[in-house]
């Protein structure tokens, strides 16, 4: 429960913080035009999910939460390398990282 008489940090505090950070990352993806900053926002979302994994694992006394966080980190690293390579390839061809300009696929 959120109610605390003696004010100790419970798992709920971390979950609320992670939820707020996740929402800020989602807002970043929707708000920003620069593809690099959009990537950073996705990284923020992945990080906040890691925080929930580790907080839950700590609460239950299971190491699986940390293992899941490590796997998320691996996927995030792979995503960043491929994403930034695509971004550099697009930039070399179009000289922009603005996603509004890159709209050839628009129907």
């Amino acid at each position: 429960m959120i109610v605390m008489a003696d004010l100790t940090v419970t798992v709920g505090w971390y979950m609320v913080l992670a939820a707020v950070l996740f929402s800020m990352g989602a807002a970043g993806v929707l708000l920003r035009r620069n593809a690099l900053v959009m990537f950073m926002s996705v990284e923020l979302m992945l990080n906040s999910v890691n925080l929930t994994f580790i907080a839950a694992g700590n609460e239950l006394g299971l190491v699986e939460g940390q293992v899941a966080a490590l796997f998320v980190m691996v996927v995030a690293a792979a995503e960043v390398t491929v994403g930034l390579a695509i971004l550099v390839a697009v930039f070399r061809r179009r000289s922009t990282a603005n996603v509004d300009v890159l709209s050839e696929l628009k129907g």
Partner: protein, 179 residues
């Protein structure tokens, strides 16, 4: 009480870093804000007894990933001002509503039960040292761990392919022939 103070300080730092990342016009400032948030995350991991993951967080995220980001920012150019005009009407307002709604929905849904499941299987004094993490990673989750090897290899090969067979590779050889 110490944990409350640490949480309060670094929660504020993490949120401030995220706000800087969201609002900074210069992508370098955005990267720095994200870096601050990631360091705060590492602090939380230490508090939550995940020592190995905290070390990996600093090495991989704050070290490698952010360096890669900064490298690409420098390569693409930081002096370009981001066009902040909206192509979709009311996009900014809609974004705030959607993000706020998302946070409220997650918090309300999670408030019912943040963590479900019996804690009979876990050990309350579990500490995520390298030994405990490795026991699980190379014991129960060996197949999943090995499949990350495939994932990283494919990602590395794909990145090299994108760099090698891009449009400028062809163009540069054409330029050399022309010169």
């Amino acid at each position: 009480m110490t944990e409350v103070i640490v949480f309060a300080i670094f929660a504020l730092v993490a949120l401030a870093g995220a706000v800087v990342m969201l609002t900074a016009k210069n992508p370098v400032y955005s990267a720095m804000g994200l870096l601050v948030t990631m360091f705060s995350m590492a602090i939380f991991y230490v508090v939550l007894d995940a020592h190995f993951v905290a070390a990996v967080q600093i090495l991989v995220y704050a070290g490698a990933v952010m360096t890669l980001f900064l490298f690409v920012i420098m390569m693409i150019g930081v002096d370009k001002k981001e066009d902040t005009s909206e192509s979709i009407p009311f996009q900014r307002g809609i974004t705030f509503v959607v993000a706020l709604g998302l946070a409220v929905v997650i918090i309300l849904a999670g408030r019912q039960a943040w963590v479900t499941g019996s804690d009979a299987f876990g050990s309350p004094d579990m500490v995520g040292t390298i030994e405990t993490v490795a026991d699980s990673l190379f014991g129960t989750w060996t197949i999943a761990f090995l499949s990350t090897v495939f994932l990283l290899t494919i990602a590395a090969v794909g990145t090299v392919a994108l760099a090698l067979f891009g449009p400028t590779a062809v163009r540069s050889t054409d330029g050399e022939e022309g010169a």
